[in-house]
């Protein structure tokens, strides 16, 4: 699908950037006049993906998180979040609800939230190379917006 608009950014895997990235993505897609619910869903899913980079991919180090956001045709938004961290050994297992390697304060629900709040979640990963998560959501048509 053709990209109508794009922004990319790279941030350090400092946990303070969790809020920065979700707010930046929300601000970018606001040109489509999404509903409050849609904005909340997108912010929550992006927050989960970025947190995974910080907590898992770059567990004991600070690395770079690459964010790319596209507005596609038909009000579809696509957010790609990529790291060059440790990678995921078993993607299927990592995506199971309640599975976590993050200790007792992590609920193991990051991917479950992404899948529930977005239309599609694609994960590509190679151990020791890194992980790419692509989140997509089609925004509703609202009276008054021009798509």
């Amino acid at each position: 699908m053709k990209s109508l608009n794009n922004f990319t950014m790279t941030v350090g895997s400092n946990s303070v950037n969790e809020s920065f990235v979700r707010v930046a993505v929300a601000a970018f897609v606001s040109s489509l006049d999404p509903t409050v619910d849609e904005i909340c869903d997108i912010k929550t899913a992006v927050s989960e993906a970025v947190t995974n980079c910080i907590v898992h991919a770059y567990k004991d180090t600070i690395g770079k998180i690459f964010v790319s956001c596209d507005i596609l045709e038909n009000r579809v938004i696509s957010v790609k979040i990529r790291d060059r961290g440790c990678g995921i050994e078993n993607i299927k297992k990592a995506m199971e609800p309640l599975f976590t390697t993050g200790g007792s304060e992590r609920a193991g629900l990051g991917f479950a939230v992404m899948e529930s709040f977005m239309d599609s979640v694609t994960v590509r990963s190679k151990p020791a190379k890194g992980t790419t998560v692509i989140l997509k959501k089609k925004l509703s048509y609202r009276a008054g917006n021009n798509g």
Binding site: S15, V16, E18, S19, R22, V36, D37, C40, K43, T44, S47, E48, T51, I54, V55, S104, E105, R106, A107, L109, G110, A112, V113, S116
Partner: protein, 102 residues
């Protein structure tokens, strides 16, 4: 993002404020646990009135405090959650651990 606490008899209320993510959950967790350990409350009320955003780190925060509370046989109530926060909590089935309401 911060948390204020108030102890009334054996009811501890924690007023959470701001956005709850992995970054902000840590300080909230430390503050609440310190109060739980000091007071051994019968009930912990988590007030979400001033929380505008929460991801699954908030679920971890609630579940972790539930475990702490069970050590002193306490109960948990969750109050004043906005629609977007209720949605995340329901996904995790938190209503099985705590009463969620006004």
């Amino acid at each position: 993002m911060s948390v204020r606490t108030k102890l009334n008899g054996r009811v501890l209320t924690a007023y959470l404020e701001g956005e709850i993510d992995h970054h902000s959950a840590k300080i909230m967790r430390e503050t609440i646990d310190r109060e739980i350990n000091a007071a051994s409350p019968q009930m912990l009320v988590l007030d979400f009135k001033d929380v505008s955003f929460m991801d699954s780190s908030g679920i971890g925060l609630v579940m972790g405090r539930y475990k702490e509370l069970k050590k002193c046989d306490g109960e948990m109530h969750i109050v004043n959650t906005a629609a977007n926060i209720t949605k995340v909590m329901k996904l995790a089935g938190l209503e099985r651990l705590a009463k969620i309401g006004r």
